[in-house]
């Protein structure tokens, strides 16, 4: 008694989730680049592509619901489907954060940069590295590594503190307030993306061990 068809569908939803993650990772990378390189076309592209990401998320969600309704999944099959259902929501929300950054890139494009972009791209780099690593732990069913990834969120939080402090100082000059506020939003979006990676890691631990653990209580 094997379940070839069901196994194939289970693999499919996970592969599609990884595809969704790749789209999201691209969105994050391009959104920050559109800001630092003041690339309006790229920013618009990120905003348009967000619709595609949303659609993909709903497609995967429907497949998961169909599997629950038709296959009565249990044990690790059930945990896999439930994990996918949660993870695609986090992925989709990460893309929304990227879209938010792209919108700010559009708003700031006509003005000179307020500060050199060093820490913001650094935050994006760490968040993306965490995202990719989290999905690898899901593929490898590696709960120990999923837990370890969450530690990196502290690095992102620390950079957020730093950027925030610098921007507040720049606000002393009235002319900077609007741009500085927008940039705090960029940093905030990146900080949230890293937080959502820790949610993915929690789902990996649940998938592998059947335990629901809160892995990272973020400062924010």
């Amino acid at each position: 008694m094997t379940r070839t068809g069901f196994d194939r569908q289970l693999t499919e939803i996970q592969e599609e989730m990884l595809l969704l993650a790749t789209l999201v990772d691209n969105a994050i990378e391009r959104s920050v680049r559109s800001l630092t390189e003041r690339d309006l076309d790229l920013a618009r592209q990120v905003i348009t592509d967000d619709l595609r990401i949303n659609r993909k998320r709903y497609e995967i969600e429907e497949k998961c619901l169909e599997l629950i309704a038709t296959q009565q999944p249990l044990a690790s099959d059930l945990r896999t489907i439930v994990s996918v259902l949660y993870i695609i929501v986090d992925l989709e929300r990460m893309a929304d954060h990227a879209e938010g950054i792209a919108k700010i890139a559009l708003m700031l494009a006509d003005e000179p940069p307020l500060m050199p972009y060093v820490d913001i791209p650094r935050m994006a780099e760490i968040a993306r590295r965490m995202l990719i690593a989290s999905l690898e732990t899901l593929k490898d069913r590696d709960a120990a590594r999923a837990r370890a990834i969450c530690n990196e969120d502290d690095e992102v939080d620390a950079l957020y503190d730093k950027v925030y402090g610098e921007l507040v100082k720049l606000m002393v000059n009235d002319a900077n307030i609007e741009r500085a506020t927008h940039l705090t939003w960029v940093a905030h979006n990146l900080e949230r993306i890293a937080d959502r990676v820790t949610n993915i890691c929690e789902r990996v631990v649940y998938l592998v061990e059947g335990k629901i653990e809160e892995l990272n209580v973020s400062t924010y």
């Binding site: 690593a133 370890a148 059947g210 335990k211 629901i212 653990e213």
Partner: protein, 280 residues
């Protein structure tokens, strides 16, 4: 996927919201099997089964065909005594006493530990006489009408048969017959009810109704159900025991625990393979 060059060190979890290992250890037991082995002639049917039957809870026994589920449930009220060549070792404790001990009255055991079978098996008698049957042979006097009504109400059948109590039970539908058999078991006031595939001859709607009835009955009775329908065990049982055939084909218990644990996060690989349909 892109591979990450990062190496991570394992760290302990920071917080645990839900400890899924928490079990209901303080549960009162109605019955308890301790290292039970059983044979039919030379064939060993059960190997070392140790299992509690919690009071006023539903315990499901699941497992593939031939794994000893029915043998096990029939050990719980000495129903196997009637099979030539049957032999049992170990303890089947009911109120602290082994029901296989010398001097224990098997008929009394079966009164207090009742059974409902796979196919509804009413006697070719009236509805009333079916329910009153056990009470009559157990020597109840006087209040037979009350006993019959109470049992039929508990089995959720009273409203359908109160005006045809003296009509033949064979005229009832399948699921009415099954409830009549449940009423017949209840009429002798048992403490434990054993159900061996009680829904396998019923349609899905009747099955759900019997399951509702089981939940009602579990307020007062301890119930053990054998089922090959895993979804039924998942829906109805508080605790689930998983049995498998060992290499010598004897049935053994491989896992027991709260139903939600068994179906979401079983500890044993064989349980996982069986309940996810990847067994064999």
């Amino acid at each position: 996927m892109v591979t990450s060059p990062l190496q991570y060190a394992a760290v302990p979890a920071t917080a645990r919201i839900d400890d899924v290992d928490a079990t209901d250890a303080q549960q009162d037991v109605a019955m308890e099997l301790r290292a039970v082995h059983a044979w039919y002639g030379h064939f060993r049917a059960l190997k070392g089964v140790t299992l509690p039957v919690p009071k006023r809870r539903i315990t499901a026994i699941i497992g593939p065909s031939g794994c000893g589920k029915s043998t096990l449930i029939r050990c719980l009220n000495r129903m196997n005594d009637l099979i030539p060549g049957f032999r049992i070792e170990g303890d089947v404790l009911f109120e602290g006493r082994n029901i296989y001990e010398r001097g224990v009255d098997a008929v009394e055991v079966r009164r207090r530990i009742g059974m409902v079978f796979q196919k509804p098996n009413p006697f070719p008698k009236s509805n009333y006489d079916n329910v009153a049957f056990g009470a009559r042979i157990n020597g109840y006097d006087g209040k037979l009408n009350e006993i019959v009504e109470r049992a039929l109400r508990q089995a959720a059948l009273w409203d359908e048969v109160h005006d045809k109590l003296h009509k033949s039970a064979l005229a009832l539908s399948g699921w009415q017959q099954q409830r009549l058999c449940i009423a017949r078991a209840l009429a002798v006031e048992p403490e434990v009810i054993l159900m061996d595939e009680p829904c396998s001859a019923l349609d899905p709607v009747a099955t759900l109704k019997i399951e509702d009835l089981m939940r009602e009955l579990a307020r007062e009775y301890s119930i053990v159900i054998v089922t090959h329908n895993m979804q039924q065990a998942a829906r109805v049982a508080d605790y689930t025991a998983v049995m498998m055939m060992a290499e010598d084909r004897a049935g053994e218990l491989i896992e027991y625990g709260p139903t939600s644990h068994i179906f979401t996060n079983p500890k044993e690989k064989r349980t996982e393979d069986y309940i996810t349909g990847r067994f064999g």
